[in-house]
């Protein structure tokens, strides 16, 4: 090594390089591990719906009672939607809160209209009196024949041994046609006296009751859009019992609180088992008291009231008498069951409506096209930047290109990792964020390279300029990256929709830019500075010392710049050799400072036209020859 003096002050720069290698190996290793254990390629990130195709619905929960929607409400609303979507059998649905007040539901593929309705409608919790109960069983010929016999009717199609699905429908229609007029009416025969009146059971209700298949998607859908003023057919949560329920008496919004805990007896001591406690507002309290007073007088099964959420009977307790104020439901609950019911009651009591902000059906082809054009744009952008950097910075440009590729590659892997670990999905906006960040990454190299050139112009040797330039550039790079990162974080937290995907990738690439510059580019530059090509500022190294002239001492119009480089830098830098040449290294009278007598000539006015950099180059040549001679 020709610059032996460097060894003494050289920072241990192989360490960050090693650390970076470890990081890369860990990243790739984690992805390989993920690929092996989950049997899915984890080296590519999952795509968001706009790239993969599917339906995306953005909903805003709105409180029906005009109060502000809290983050808690939003997360409960998400829970409701998740339960519904899961129940409808859509796999890989993505339900997230965004920006604190919106809910984004992503459904891959081409979801049915019914599923979409499920997502869009708000949860409804109501309490209805029970009118009739029927065991849920498969409707076969025998069961239909038995039911017809009980009702005193004759089969209209098929036999009691065999019926086609069409026959079953016909028989059920006949069974439900109470007045025998051949039409299924949806109006009560006579005006019902109270909500517990069986007159609410219409022909239509009866037909629905028979046709309802508990556990099917149709059951869920049929019940979701229930009308509080009419009777409703619903299954219980386990799907074993079907109910016909009277009109709603208490609405979910009238429940103020629902909790669960150990059941207490009248003396306030635990009686074993668990209970769910409900509190009502004044309106609800009155309605519940009236309802329970009436129901408790009736015969089974009409002595029960049901709690229905989203068309599913959560619980059908038997009130002991008129209950006013709070109510306690006891039964054979386990602690988690009681807690779940209390939770569902609280969900249902949310007076929320969902306002559809946007609903997008994206074809898979369009998504692929978008991704493709994004990648083409990214590739073109990268190529032009490579060309530009190489044109502007020659060999240094190559260093920056390697660094850019490294940070882009790392971002890609990190995004793949986050996709696996956190369920992050790459959207079009995310791809754009990555493309745009190529430019941001190039920025930090330009800051550094220009800084190195400035240091050379200030009279430093190349290795010295690489060190000192770094100390200066590092600060600028950190601050400007911090500004970028801050912008991404603020954007991510405070915005919705596609803005977030963009902010997310921009943030990741900014952090990785910082890591690559610190742990790769600078150490690499340090070692390159010790090579002949860069260290001596050969042409095309990007640090052509012969062309990087020092500053003019005379600046015209009587202004003179003090040729005293970086007093502060020198004071602040320890452990680094200052490679600036001191005046006495130049036994040239033009550079020897003398306040009064020596003739001061600016470099611009120097007769031999030799610049400081050229002078230094000449000096280095002489030095090398001298060294050769000694050896």
């Amino acid at each position: 090594m020709s610059h032996s003096s460097h060894a003494a002050v050289k920072p241990k720069l192989y360490k960050p390089l090693v650390a970076l290698c470890v990081l890369i190996v860990a990243l790739v290793g984690a992805l390989a591990y993920g690929t092996l254990t989950t049997h899915k390629n984890r080296f590519t990130p999952d795509l968001a719906l706009d790239l993969e195709g599917g339906t995306q619905i953005i909903l805003t929960p709105v409180a029906t009672d005009g109060r502000d929607v809290t983050a808690d409400d939003v997360s409960q609303a998400i829970e409701i939607i998740r339960q519904r979507v899961d129940a409808s059998g859509v796999a890989e649905a993505e339900i997230n809160s965004q920006g604190g007040s919106n809910i984004v539901v992503g459904l891959p593929g081409n979801p049915s209209k019914e599923t979409l309705n499920l997502v869009r409608t708000s949860a409804v919790l109501r309490m209805r009196p029970v009118l009739a109960i029927m065991q849920s069983q498969k409707l076969d010929a025998a069961a239909i024949a038995q039911a017809m016999k009980t009702a005193g009717k004759k089969l209209v199609a098929g036999t009691d041994k065999a019926m086609t699905p069409e026959d079953i429908k016909k028989n059920i229609a006949a069974l439900a046609d109470i007045n025998g007029d051949g039409k299924i009416s949806d109006a009560p025969e006579k005006k019902p006296a109270d909500p517990s009146d069986t007159a609410w059971i219409t022909e239509k209700t009866t037909q629905d009751m028979y046709l309802l298949e508990c556990g099917s998607q149709a059951a869920q859908l049929a019940a979701t859009g229930d009308d509080p003023k009419k009777a409703l057919v619903a299954c219980d949560a386990t799907g074993t019992t079907k109910y016909i329920l009277g009109p709603a008496e208490v609405e979910g919004g009238q429940i103020t609180q629902a909790t669960s805990g150990p059941a207490l007896n009248a003396q306030g001591t635990p009686s074993g088992g668990y209970a769910v406690n409900m509190e009502f507002n004044s309106e609800g309290s009155k309605a519940f008291a009236d309802s329970t007073a009436r129901i408790s007088q009736l015969q089974s099964p009409r002595n029960q009231f049901s709690i229905v959420l989203d068309g599913k009977v959560l619980s059908a307790p038997v009130p002991s008498g008129r209950i006013s104020g709070g109510a306690q439901i006891t039964g054979s609950f386990t602690a988690p069951e009681a807690a779940a019911l209390a939770n569902q009651l609280s969900f249902g009591s949310l007076p929320l409506n969902f306002q559809v902000q946007s609903e997008e059906q994206i074809s898979a082809t369009l998504g692929t096209d978008q991704l493709q054009s994004g990648l083409i744009a990214g590739l073109i952008g990268l190529l032009i930047i490579v060309a530009y950097m190489v044109w502007q910075y020659h060999a240094l440009g190559v260093v920056s290109v390697i660094s850019i590729l490294l940070s882009t590659g790392l971002s890609y892997f990190v995004i793949s990792l986050l996709s696996w670990a956190m369920g992050y999905r790459l959207s079009m906006a995310g791809v754009l964020g990555m493309i745009v960040s190529i430019g941001v990454t190039a920025d930090s190299f330009i800051v550094y390279f220009e800084r190195i050139r400035d240091e050379i112009r200030d009279g430093r040797t190349v290795p010295g300029a690489i060190q000192h330039g770094w100390l200066r550039a590092r600060r600028t790079i950190i601050v400007s990256d911090a500004v970028n990162l801050l912008a991404s974080i603020v954007l991510y937290i405070l915005t919705v929709g596609s803005v977030r995907g963009f902010a997310f990738t921009l943030g990741i690439t900014t952090v990785l830019d910082l890591i690559v510059v610190m742990m790769f580019t600078y150490p690499l530059m340090h070692y390159l500075g010790r090579t002949k090509f860069f260290g001596e500022g050969k042409p095309y190294s990007g640090l052509n010392t012969a062309k990087l002239e020092g500053p003019a001492l005379y600046q015209g119009r009587g202004r003179v710049r003090s040729f005293e480089p970086k007093k502060k830098a020198r004071a602040g830098v320890t452990g680094l050799e200052d490679r600036a040449l001191s005046a006495d290294e130049y036994p040239d009278e033009r550079f020897v400072s003398d306040h009064s007598t020596a003739k001061k000539t600016s470099r611009l006015e120097r007769r031999d036209g030799e610049s400081l950099a050229q002078l230094r180059a000449r000096e280095r040549r002489q030095q090398r020859q001298a060294a050769k001679g000694e050896n």
Binding site: V356, I376, I435, T495, L506, L548, E585
Partner: protein, 358 residues
């Protein structure tokens, strides 16, 4: 002039553009642009995307039929919207925007568009957007912007230990925002959520540039009082000139990917998001580079010049300069060969080591 010698001249001050000295011109131009933009906000109806108007949008992709009439027919047949907006996006994509349609109507339009353009129904993308969606995004964007500006102002004030710089940066940022929007209003470009993303990205970019320029200004002026060669204004101006190449290069490298996105978005494929975002960033990035050189720095320097210590220093430098000029004039009249420059020409010897020879 090669980049090297231009860089050298800018660095040495041989080539120096009076950026700060002529600040009143830049400020006037910026104020004029902002005024024009503000007037356009008041007088011109912006071309708001469907996200702001609300409605339904259909995109037929991969069609060989590029005629727009079938699409218009399909929508008018529904009877909801007599004047749907039908546009060609890229070479094989048709975009249809209508008023708000019900679910059934959406299904119907989708099916009919598919048959009219001879593609399968899965190639027709439909979007329904509530009328408040865009407004929602906008209000969130504005909130994000305000929070960001407050935090960044604080950081900059702490980092540069000067509120003047934060004020300059924020002023330039607002200018960039308003003028970029003005370009959209006047140019009649469609404003979509992607435009909003781009606008928000510009804020990070604009400040990035400003921070780098200021960093150099600070470096040049930090030891202002230790020398009497240059006034605060002159050394700040030199700093901006010294970072000119860097500003130029970072702007170009920032713009290159944006331009490639714009090119791909507009010419090669019909990718809406790409085009919208690239266009706004293109306009905004150019403006933010210009504003960090011509507005932010001069404005902050102008504020900094109001500082009493700086004023004193400037007066002292100017006094010394006129004295030395007088002296030089005297010398010149007595001895034509003598030097005409008086300066402290000292190179520090501390910290510099003798070069070791092997």
């Amino acid at each position: 002039m090669s980049m090297y010698s231009w860089g050298n001249n800018l660095y040495s001050g041989k080539t120096s553009y009076p950026l700060i000295q002529k600040r009143m011109y830049w400020f006037s131009a910026a104020i004029a642009l902002v005024l024009v933009s503000l007037i356009s906000f008041a007088t011109i109806t912006p071309n708001l995307g469907i996200e702001f108007r609300g409605g339904s949008q259909f995109t037929v992709s991969g069609t060989a039929v590029t005629d727009l009439k079938p699409a218009t027919d399909v929508v008018t047949k529904i009877g909801k919207d007599s004047a749907p907006r039908v546009t060609n996006v890229g070479s094989d994509t048709i975009r249809v925007q209508t008023g708000q349609l019900s679910d059934q109507e959406t299904q119907k339009v989708r099916a009919e568009l598919a048959s009219a353009y001879k593609v399968s129904e899965t190639e027709v993308t439909s979007t329904f957007i509530g009328p408040s969606w865009g407004a929602d995004i906008m209000s969130k964007a504005i909130r994000a912007m305000i929070v960001f500006m407050v935090i960044v102002s604080l950081i900059m004030t702490i980092y540069f230990r000067s509120w003047a710089i934060a004020v300059g940066a924020m002023g330039a940022l607002l200018h960039d925002f308003i003028v970029t929007l003005g370009v959209y209003w006047i140019g009649g470009f469609e404003i979509t959520p992607a435009t909003v993303i781009g606008l928000l990205t510009i804020m990070g970019y604009s400040l990035y540039d400003t921070v780098v320029v200021f960093d150099k200004v600070r470096e040049n002026t930090v030891e202002l009082r230790g020398q009497n060669d240059m006034t605060y204004e002159e050394s700040a101006n030199l700093a901006i000139n010294q970072t000119l190449i860097r500003s130029l290069n970072t702007s170009i490298t920032g713009l290159l990917p944006v331009m490639s996105v714009l090119f791909v978005g507009v010419y090669l494929l019909g990718a809406d998001t790409l085009r919208d975002l690239a266009l706004v960033m293109f306009v905004g990035m150019i403006l933010s580079t210009l504003s960090s050189i011509f507005l932010a720095a001069p404005f902050a320097v102008a504020l900094g010049m109001r500082n009493d210590a700086v004023k004193e220093h400037t007066a002292a430098v100017l006094k010394m300069r006129s004295e030395s000029r007088d002296k030089a004039a005297n010398l010149a009249s007595t001895d034509e060969n003598s030097g005409n420059i008086e300066s402290s020409h000292v190179r520090s010897k501390s910290g510099a080591k003798k070069r070791k020879k092997k």
